[in-house]
Symmetry: C2
Subunit: 347 residues, 2 copies
């Protein structure tokens, strides 16, 4: 896995997917190492994060961020080591996290790079999960928008994923009852046994709505929305008056081609928001909460060091396997936070 020090392997977007991405949408290519401008760092990627939002970047439909251009490197957060530095605050060997993309090496402005610190220095890949963007997303979405109160019922799907597992654990730390939703009996069992959820319901169960209702006899006070679709349909009737719904993602919809036919339930949602006095609020973590990253890092670092937070990593080896891993992630085939190891920690 040792990276060739004169060649930069990278994965570019070859074509835009129609529906679910396929291997042909990606292309692995080799380029010379990027040259370094003033104020830039040369980074060697060690761990690449794969996340559902990447599906959105592959499309040119309206989104909250610009799409990846055809033939350009796939966007993505990564943990890297500094190889060379044109900035006085960084030196070779530093561990950093940056949105440096699906590639062996990246030249990037030092202002766009954050040094790893605290617990992340011992477990660098966690800076892509519990100690990074997914953790920050769970923390702010749940606490700032969800405003969970002790004794309330919090529901989150993708319960063994990096965001959902954190939402559940943070809600438990607030004294809430936590019900997860996950795909399959094994994940459900893991959510309860490893992450401490009170219950976990299998979204593949045809009786999902009924199972969820049984698991939430007091209704739902906070639904952390990261999947949409059938799960949302099961949640909506169970929401209590004044429930809060932070919306951080809709992974079940990312491969959808167009809207389903049937009754148009747009006004059903709006009338439910009115009748139940719901607060439904979307957020994009760094755009909305970037200024509060320090608060998250401090609190999560404390919880993590006190062993109050568990995590599960799903590690893949090799840049060339990133496309297939993203395809599977979008199908819910991951089990834990997906990290692609691209380089050695020490090289």
């Amino acid at each position: 896995m040792s990276q060739n020090q004169s060649v930069n392997r990278r994965i570019v977007l070859a074509s835009r997917p129609k529906g679910a991405p396929v291997a042909a949408n990606f292309r692995l290519e080799e380029q010379p190492l990027p040259s370094l401008a003033a104020g830039q760092l040369l980074l060697r990627t060690v761990y690449l994060s794969l996340d559902p939002y990447m599906r959105g970047r592959m499309s040119d439909a309206p989104s909250y961020a610009a799409p990846v251009a055809i033939d350009q490197v796939m966007t993505g957060g990564a943990v890297s080591r500094v190889v060379a530095s044109n900035d006085k605050n960084f030196k070779a060997g530093d561990w950093v996290v940056a949105s440096s993309g699906w590639q062996d090496y990246a030249a990037i402005d030092a202002t766009l790079v954050r040094k790893l610190e605290g617990a992340a220095l011992k477990h660098p890949s966690l800076a892509l999960g519990v100690l990074g963007m997914p953790g920050f997303t769970a923390y702010m979405g749940l606490l700032d928008i969800g405003q969970p109160q002790a004794g309330e019922t919090v529901v989150v799907a993708a319960a063994t994923g990096p965001v959902g597992s954190l939402v559940g654990q943070i809600a438990k730390l607030q004294g809430c009852k936590v019900v997860g939703i996950a795909g399959g009996a094994e994940k459900c069992r893991y959510a309860v046994e490893h992450f401490g959820f009170d219950h976990c319901v299998d979204h593949r169960d045809p009786a999902l709505a009924q199972r969820l209702q049984e698991a939430c006899p007091q209704g739902i006070d906070v639904y952390f929305e990261n999947v949409g679709g059938a799960v949302f349909d099961a949640v909506l009737p169970l929401l209590n008056t004044k429930a809060r719904v932070p919306v951080c993602g809709l992974v079940s919809q990312y491969n959808a081609e167009g809207l389903p036919q049937g009754q148009d339930r747009l006004m059903l949602l709006t009338s439910t928001i009115l009748r139940k006095r719901l607060r439904v609020q979307g957020f994009i973590i760094f755009d909305d909460y970037g200024h509060r990253y320090g608060e998250f890092a401090k609190q999560m670092g404390e919880w993590f060091s006190a062993d109050k937070i568990k995590f599960r990593e799903h590690r893949i080896q090799g840049l060339e396997n990133a496309p297939q891993s993203l395809i599977e992630l979008l199908e819910g085939k991951n089990f834990g936070k997906v990290v692609v190891q691209i380089g050695e920690e020490n090289d």
Copy 2:
């Protein structure tokens, strides 16, 4: 119009409407005057408020409040004079506002009654409009949920109605650009000339979406939702990132029987909430903000006394005309705040 002092005329719900209410859903009947229990007041109704929410009370579909039972008096806010008092804080002749229903007389606990004060004593019917529930709804929904900032664009429908006209005027007082939506050229002209809206778009115009876009070249930052349906469809694509949507009513939907067929846009709404990071929040004014009524009354009283707030009242004479007036209100045939005069101010 002088009320008979031994007979209580009242309008009860005779049957539940299917779709739009019709005259046969109501029945005018006569009863003896109610007797007075300890702590109660006997009220003589002078002005009865008609409001869109009353349609919801006529149905037994799930709602935020219990439905009116068949053969029971129609619910409604009214301004009344005290005829007799079993409470030391009230005396005969006092002007009060209470949810005393569609009837000449009501016996009601003094704890559920509020005395008129300030400007409302000079214009008692305004305690049902600008100085009462509709004004309070506009004030809190716009300022607390909408959070309008100077220079932002605020859009509201039913622009000449009691809530919409206030939303627009309060938004102007905050330095916003205000675009109204109303039914017909006359109402649109009135919204601009009388209420000071910057623009007003006719929702009957087949090119509503385009007209609204032209009126909002900077997009929409706050959409105060009180109608739903086609207006919401026109608004949704124009909402800016981080727009706020207080949801106070959906009058276009109240007579709907079931949902329309077609594409199911439920996830379109949720994905727009995510992508644009919207905040969509329903509220029921007294449930959510009852504790802040004093703040509203003080500020609105000041604005009103300083002639910064205009209003328009659509006055109907006679309890027997209330049913037809509510039917027409739900069709948008009112022009201003609908008040039914049931008794003389001095009798």
